[in-house]
């Protein structure tokens, strides 16, 4: 749920901060020094746990303690080969399929909920909103029962279920964007006898693209970070995603500290890239104001 909100906020964080309301006072100089110092302390505290991750990932004989690393790239090489690479590929398949299902279904539903007259639309939206808040841990037991009866305890059904868990929020997110697309554009297309599919692909799709992309990024990030759901719903070790692999490393008989650190970093990189991408999407802003006059 946070990712979607964040997308629009990432830009806000990057925006320049206005000068303080009271610039002239003498006190403000020492105040500034104090807030800079406090901020630096907070920054150091937040940085502290990450130090080990970075140092150990580069260290050829890493342990749990922070040491000057004996520099090596072997840990990263190991994280990108063999079964480690396989688990990352699994993560990509799992998150990719889940995102595709949720975003396509979500965009179609969002369009209908935004534009069409639908009986009981109010209650329907309320149920969707309610679903975004249901703790997923309770779903896992009935879904496990269902999937194990069907013989579905593998990667693709798991992706389908992950898609369903992100679907309510994606519908909401995309609907908000379609609501903002001026109706006049769509009506103009209808005058030209465009069908529903054409309108969706050629008018609504491109104009609501930032919203659809944000929803897709939210879906991907959520699926990528998921742990409990693949832990229960995927039985074959060859199909396990990266999150489960990291957990397996800690329990291993011979703990490879450097590998754990390198793999954890590699596993986090796609998320960082996607967040950066989403903040870009929003920096461009909505350029619809020019499309309709008046």
């Amino acid at each position: 749920m946070t990712a979607g909100v964040s997308a629009s906020l990432a830009e806000a964080a990057a925006a320049p901060v206005l000068p303080p309301a009271n610039p002239a006072s003498r006190r403000s100089l020492s105040n500034k020094a104090v807030s800079n110092l406090l901020l630096a302390l907070f920054g150091a505290a937040f940085l502290l746990p990450m130090v080990w991750l970075v140092l150990a990932s580069l260290d050829s004989n890493a342990t749990w303690s922070v040491e000057i690393p004996h520099l090596t790239g072997a840990n990263f090489a190991a994280a990108l080969s063999g079964s480690d690479l396989q688990s990352i590929v699994n993560s990509i398949v799992l998150s990719g399929v889940s995102t595709a299902i949720a975003t396509v279904c979500g965009a179609l539903a969002a369009y209908a909920l935004s534009r069409r007259r639908i009986p009981w639309k109010g209650p329907l939206l309320l149920i969707v909103l309610f679903l975004t808040g249901v703790p997923l841990a309770i779903l896992i037991i009935p879904i496990f029962e269902l999937f194990s009866d069907l013989g579905w305890l593998s990667i693709l059904p798991c992706a389908l279920f992950l898609a369903v868990t992100t679907l309510p929020f994606e519908i909401y997110l995309i609907k908000n964007f379609i609501d903002a697309v001026p109706q006049d554009l769509e009506e103009a297309a209808r005058m030209e006898r465009a069908g529903t599919m054409q309108i969706l692909l050629k008018v609504i799709g491109p104009l609501a693209m930032p919203g659809i992309a944000a929803a897709a990024i939210f879906g991907f990030v959520t699926a990528w970070g998921s742990f409990l759901i693949p832990l229960v719903l995927i039985t074959s070790p060859n199909q396990q995603p990266g999150s489960i692999a990291i957990f397996g490393f800690i329990g291993a008989a011979h703990v490879q500290y450097g590998n754990i650190a390198a793999f954890s970093l590699v596993y986090a990189v796609p998320i960082f890239l996607l967040y950066a991408l989403s903040s870009r999407l929003f920096r461009g802003g909505f350029v619809l104001s020019g499309a309709v006059r008046g």
Binding site: A21, E145, L167, M191, T196, F227
Partner: protein, 310 residues
């Protein structure tokens, strides 16, 4: 097929003479193609979300097990699981730990997030970008990576012990609840910082300047103007932090798996443990029901809090 239906409806919309059906032509009518658009989502949500939630509620009152005879021939057992909950000390411990975890996380996240948001406004640019970046990176990390990082830092010989001059003390073992809560605060604060920072920037300058004219102190300005104006944002943030913390299975599972003993065994972990490690699917389900109840209670509190005078 549907395009024809569309055209008829369109004719009405576009102001062309529609067939006189007796209905108003200027109001949109239900189109069957809407069903095709909504269909996939509705079916998926019904079959894999709504019905399972209801089914999970029912399973809590049965004797379903993961393996053995009760895996196949299970049946409704009334309040048997409820009675078991009532006499299960681990459950009450788990409930208490859950509340500690949620309340501790909320206080930590909101206080530190707000402090950071305010400090960021009053600091030099390079420091703002650097520290803001660090906190946001901590927030973006997948829960499993965050848990990994904190495990390494707080275990024996980890960064924290070394820094505090006690390299051999295992903080994660001695103060597990404190450490997992800190780890959760660490990984959620970035979100609060961004949201509250955006809200801070939206407070009109005139209001703060007026307060300066009246010789209000910094603290007065913060307490009497900034805080009340941030109130709706804080309530929303708290609600989201609650939901995320209650769902943050991976973070604690990777760090302690609920241990040592049961000292970090919050409800989602206990539910998982009962269902998939002790094979009591039904008992796990009823713990899940309690979790939904906890969520609902927090939800009601927040709705009330946001309705009180603003």
């Amino acid at each position: 097929m549907s395009s024809q239906a569309d055209t008829v409806a369109l004719a009405g919309q576009a102001g062309l003479p529609a067939r006189p059906t007796g209905k108003r032509a200027d109001r949109q009518r239900f189109q069957w193609s809407s069903l095709a658009l909504l269909g996939p989502s509705l079916i998926l949500l019904a079959v894999l979300f709504v019905i399972p939630v209801i089914y999970a509620f029912y399973l809590g009152f049965t004797n379903l097990e993961l393996v053995g005879p009760n895996a196949v021939n299970w049946h409704f057992t009334g309040t048997q699981n409820l009675q078991r909950l009532g006499s299960d000390p681990t459950f009450f411990l788990s409930l208490r730990l859950t509340l500690i975890f949620i309340v501790g996380s909320i206080i930590g996240v909101v206080v530190i997030g707000l402090a950071l948001a305010v400090l960021l406004q009053n600091s030099v640019t390079w420091l703002r970008i650097l520290v803001g970046g660090i906190v946001v990176v901590a927030w973006m990390m997948p829960a499993i990576t965050a848990g990994m990082t904190w495990y390494a830092s707080t275990t024996a010989a980890g960064t924290f012990g070394t820094l505090l001059g006690m390299p051999n003390s295992d903080f994660l073992h001695h103060e597990p609840m404190l450490i997992v809560t800190l780890a959760n605060v660490w990984s959620q604060t970035g979100f609060a910082m961004l949201v509250l920072g955006a809200a801070l920037r939206n407070i009109p300058h005139e209001v703060l300047e007026a307060a300066d004219m009246e010789d209000a102190s910094r603290w007065q300005r913060f307490r009497l103007i900034t805080l009340p104006m941030l109130r709706p944002t804080i309530v929303t943030t708290v609600l989201l932090i609650t939901l995320i913390s209650l769902a943050n299975f991976a973070l604690i599972y990777v760090m302690t798996q609920g241990g040592p003993g049961n000292s970090t065994n919050i409800l989602p972990l206990y539910s998982y443990q009962q269902a998939f490690e002790f094979n009591n699917l039904a008992y796990g389900a009823i713990i899940g029901n309690v979790m939904v109840l906890v969520c609902a209670i927090f939800g009601v509190i927040y709705v009330r809090a946001s309705r009180v005078r603003t």
